[in-house]
Structure formats: C-alpha cells, structure tokens
C-alpha cells in the first residue's frame, strides 16, 4: 500500500510588498505601473502553505508536494530563484496573467484543470493547500472554487494549525473573529486548506534542495501551458490610490508627561 500524502500547493507571484504600487489603465483593464519590472515574490500566505506542506511531507515518508503556479513565465522563473532552494517540490507551471485585477474564477478553473491533470494524484491522500487570501486580489475565493471543481467539501480558511492523526482523522484551527480559533475535526482526506500564517519559520536556503528542484523546475517552466486569464464580465469604473496623505505634525522636545497628557485627552475625545 502506498503511504504518505499528496499535497498540492496553489500559489503565485505578487509584487514585493516593499515596492510602491500605482494603478494604470491598460487596454486589458487596470494594471500596475511598470508591472513587468516590479520584483516578484511568492504570495506570502501561499508561501506559508508551501512551508507547511514541505514540513508535513518531510514527516511522512512517501509524501509528495506539487506547487501549482499560474503567472507570466518570466515572473515565475524569477520567483523560483527565491523559493526553489527552500523546500522540495515539483512545479506545475501555467503561463498567464497574474494580478489583482484578474478574475478568481478564471484562475481557479485553470488551476483545477492543471491539478486534475497531475499524473497519479491520489484523492484518498490529497491535501490541497494555498494562502487564504492573496496579496493582490485578496479575495479568498480561488481556493474555494478549486475545491468545488475537485469535489472537496471539507474546506477550511485562515488556518494556523493542522494535525493529522494516526487514525486518519484531522484537526484544524481556523482564525475567526476576536483573535480566536475555531477547532474542527475531519473524518479524513481529501481536504482543502487556505493557510494563514501557521507556525513555521521561513526555511533557510539549501543549495542541495535548489539543485534537486531545478531538475524539474526548468522543464516545467518550458512546458508551461499558456492560459488566457482576464476578468470577463467585470467593469472597473475607477481604480485609484487613496487620496489622503496626512500633514504629519512632528512634535519634538515635549516632556513625556506633557505628551501623556495630550494623548490621554485625545483618547478620551
């Protein structure tokens, strides 16, 4: 009998959050100024899900991790430079637009088709992972639609902890309002998990992992199937930067007591 888990991680590129972003109008709809020039990283919550997947695979021999990623080929390649040295995975790449102004359904359909085409994927051992919201659209929609398309109705979002028990049952902690977690148990796989931060640190770079990954990453990038992604049916009436820029008053050489007094008054206003 085969052992271990089949973990499919969905995650794509977003602009490095330290960059300044500015919207522009393009013939295909709203886009970012200099979008192709902006340095790209793997979406932060998706990267947590990738680390969790790798951790789980490491602890359960026979497991395998796939990273299914849809984005412009050049961007995916750039992102691979950052993450391929961190954890072992096999890349499934799709070449198409990635960004805030694309439609979650179009992305989810392309991703679920790609997942279904993975040879030998075993549903009884399947965990579909991803970030619970992206740093681009931030909709929290893509994974749910993938789950629906794959027929997975045990879905969890904002997950910080997953425990797989020896008897095949699972326990999941999901973020809910007010700094609390909802605790659920599930009878077994397949499940879908949108990860929040989890509990793992970013793994250090390991050149050996990088070498091993690159053997499959480069061919996967070359094979990347082109997919047409847009936002059919959506009309953006406007996309703007928030106008409010504050006139910051910088208060120097005021005594701590006077500052405290001023803040106390402000709090109570």
């Amino acid at each position: 009998m085969s052992t271990g888990y089949h973990i499919v991680v969905c995650g794509s590129v977003v602009p490095d959050p330290l960059q300044t972003l500015e919207p522009i109008a393009s013939p295909a709809g709203p886009a970012l100024k200099n979008e192709l020039m902006l340095p790209a990283i793997l979406d932060p919550w998706a990267s947590h899900s990738l680390y969790e997947a790798a951790h789980l695979a490491k602890q359960n021999p026979g497991s395998k991790v796939w990273l299914v990623s849809l984005g412009p080929k050049a961007k995916l390649q750039q992102m691979m430079m950052n993450i391929a040295q961190k954890v072992p995975f096999e890349l499934v790449a799709l070449d198409g637009l990635a960004g805030g102004f694309t439609e979650a359904f179009e992305v989810a359909f392309a991703l679920s088709d790609a997942i279904q085409a993975i040879p030998g994927l075993d549903r009884s051992r399947l965990l579909v992972f991803g970030g619970w919201e992206s740093a681009s659209r931030g909709a929290g929609a893509t994974l749910q639609i993938i789950g629906e398309r794959l027929g997975i109705s045990d879905q969890f979002q904002g997950v910080d902890q997953l425990t797989l028990n020896p008897d095949g049952t699972l326990q999941v902690l999901e973020r809910i309002e007010g700094g609390k977690h909802q605790v659920s148990t599930c009878a077994g796989l397949p499940i879908l998990i949108g990860w929040a931060t989890g509990n793992l640190r970013e793994p250090p770079n390991n050149p050996q992992i990088g070498m091993a990954n690159m053997r499959t990453v480069m061919p996967a990038l070359q094979r990347a199937k082109p997919v047409k992604i847009g936002a059919e049916g959506v009309t953006y009436a406007s996309v703007t930067l928030p106008k409010q820029r504050r006139e910051t008053k910088v208060v120097k050489s005021m005594s701590p007591d006077d500052i405290a007094k001023e803040i106390a008054t402000w709090i109570n206003q």
């Binding site: 959050p17 330290l18 639609i145 326990q171 931060t197 049916g233 504050r246 910051t248 910088v250 500052i259």
Partner: protein, 344 residues
C-alpha cells in the same frame, strides 16, 4: 429585474450579529436603488424564527430559512448547501452576505455552485444609473476600485463596519422553511469548539475605539544599553487593561514572540497588523516603537486618527502616514500615560 437575497446566519443565542444587521441595511438600500427590487431574507442556523422577528419590519418580501442542528455551526459543507438552497429558492440575482469568517469561508464556493461570480470584501455598495456598484480594495488596501459585473447570480460579501446596522422594530415574520437534503459527506467535519487565548492574553478587541500597536522597539536595547524585558510587557498590558484598547503588533515583534524571544509573550500572529496581518477597524490608533514601514501601515487603512511615539524623528510615520508623531521614548511616555489612564 434584480432579486436581492440577504443571507446570514443566526447566532447561537437566536439573535443576528452586528455585521449581519449592517449587511441587511446595505442590501435594503441596494434593493431600493434597483427600482425597489424585492429583498428576500435568508437565514441559516439552529432556529431562525426569533431572529427573523427582530427584523420583521425591514421591508423584506419573503423570509426564508434553513434550520436544524446540522446548520448551527460554521462548517463549509453544510453552510454551502444551505446558501445554495436559499439562493435557488429565492431566485436571487444578487446575493449579499456579511464578510464574517463564516461566510467568507464559503461564499465563493456557493457562487461556483450557482454558476455565478463573487466579489468579496466590499466596503460599499451603491447604485449609479440603475447599476449596482461595489467598492473594494486591491493589493492589501493599497488601491481602491469601484466596479460592477455582468454575471448573475452575483455574490457580494460586505466587510464588517462598513454600513450602519439596521435598526427597526421587531414583529412577527412569516418564515418559510427551505429543506436541504444533506449528503452523508457533508458531516465529515465536526466543529468541536473555540479556542481563545487565556483571559490575560485576550488582547484583540475588534470593537475597541483605540488600536494600540507595539513594534519591535519594545524588545530592543534602549538608551541605557539594556533590554527592558520586564517593564515592556507590564507597561503594555497595564495600558490595555485600563484603556480597553485592542493590541496590534508589527510583523517583526510578532515573529520575535514566535521564535521564543518572549519579551512580549502575549503577542501572536493574530495581533499582526499589515500586509500579511489584519486590517482592523478602529476610530483611533496609537503606534509605539514601530517604524511605520509600508507593509505595516497598509493595515492601518481603516484607522482614521493616528498618533505615534518613536525616538526616531525620521521614522517612516513622519512621511504623511500619521497625524502626530511624538519624538520621544515610549517607555517614558507610557509610564506617565498609564498613571493618567489609571487615575481616570
């Protein structure tokens, strides 16, 4: 002609929570703006009559409910089945639900089942020339769009705190029950309960007027060359206790806590504000020992009045991100502020 479905869950005590009442108000104005389109209420929960009665006079054309023990808890499979059944029973073209954790988990899946589309985290819903328009943010609150879409059914989730809660008199609602035949697979997940931090670590208070952010500076060597590992948590917790503010943290300080460098042991990832954290809604925010870098400050998008205490006169907050920056030692100021707030 559109038909608007307002969809929400009933709280365990039989009431409707504030985000639900806010969403009801938004749904009512949307329906009114769409040529007085019919508004249908769809409730999900153990029982729904008393909740329906509290909004009986809201002007809804019909009150529908999916009820029973299977629908009490917040679980994908059963919530999706209930929402799908209500949307179909209502023949809804626009479905509006609150963007709570419960409905955020499931509504995109529901849109998929209905063959529709979804827009989540709307912060406003309006009507212009007969067209429903939503406002939502992109790139983690860095830019804002108004948009509409052609597909129906169109599911919209509205963020909490974006509309006034509906406030009207109660009555007796004519509740129609909608039956859902759940497959056995819908009950593979069991919600066991909630896990809250210990009472003294319960620092996240979404309804607080004030957000108090502590940054990594609290854990760093101070002018005397020392880390003030005892005083820092005490000053912060004392302030939270007397002010009832909600505690936020920067990624740096939260990561430090996770790494066992427990200067602020009560700080968890749930406290993190910013790009990869929360975007809470509070009227005022006070940031201390926090540099104000962009990935942090995007989480302050919905905090209106902002003040900062930082020893660095060039910290990033001074660049148009805060109203007032006090260039001062936060330890010294918080000692004094705690004396004042405690006295009150």
């Amino acid at each position: 002609m559109e038909t608007v479905l307002f969809l929400t869950s009933v709280e365990p005590d039989g009431t409707l929570a504030k985000p639900a009442l806010e969403t009801l108000n938004a749904a009512l104005s949307l329906a009114a703006g769409l040529d007085n389109a019919p508004l249908i209420v769809g409730l999900v929960g153990d029982a729904a009559q008393s909740a329906a009665n509290t909004i009986a006079t809201c002007g809804a054309a019909t009150f529908l409910a999916v009820t029973g023990g299977d629908f009490t808890s917040s679980r994908y499979a059963t919530d999706a089945a209930a929402a799908e059944a209500l949307a179909k029973a209502a023949h809804a073209t626009v479905i509006i639900a609150p963007a709570t954790s419960r409905w955020s988990r499931v509504m995109a899946g529901v849109a998929c089942r209905l063959g529709g589309r979804i827009d989540t985290h709307a912060t406003a819903i309006t009507v212009t020339s007969g067209v429903p328009l939503i406002t939502r943010w992109y790139y983690r609150q860095r830019m804002v769009a108004t948009q509409h879409r052609a597909q129906r059914p169109w599911v919209i989730t509205l963020d909490p705190g974006c509309a006034e809660p509906w406030n009207g008199s109660a009555g007796i609602a004519q509740l129609e029950s909608v039956t859902v035949n759940l497959p056995a697979t819908a009950k593979r997940t069991t919600v066991v309960g909630l896990q809250s931090p210990a009472a003294d670590a319960q620092t996240i208070r979404p309804d607080a007027k004030l957000l108090f952010v502590a940054g990594a500076g609290w854990t760093k060597k101070q002018a005397d060359g020392q880390i003030h590992a005892e005083e820092a948590p005490k000053l912060i917790l004392d302030f939270l206790k007397s002010s009832q503010a909600s505690l936020g943290g920067t990624k740096s300080v939260v990561d430090l806590s996770g790494e066992g460098e427990a200067v602020l042991p009560f700080m968890t990832h749930l406290n993190q504000v910013g790009q990869t954290g929360a975007t809470p809604r509070h009227a005022k925010g006070l940031a201390t020992c926090c540099h104000g870098e962009e990935p942090h400050v995007v989480g302050w998008r919905f905090v209106n009045e902002r003040r900062v205490i930082n020893t660095d006169p060039n910290c990033s907050w001074t660049r148009g991100k805060a109203d007032v920056v006090y260039v001062a030692d936060a330890f010294a100021v918080m000692r004094k502020l705690n004396e004042r707030v405690a006295k009150k």
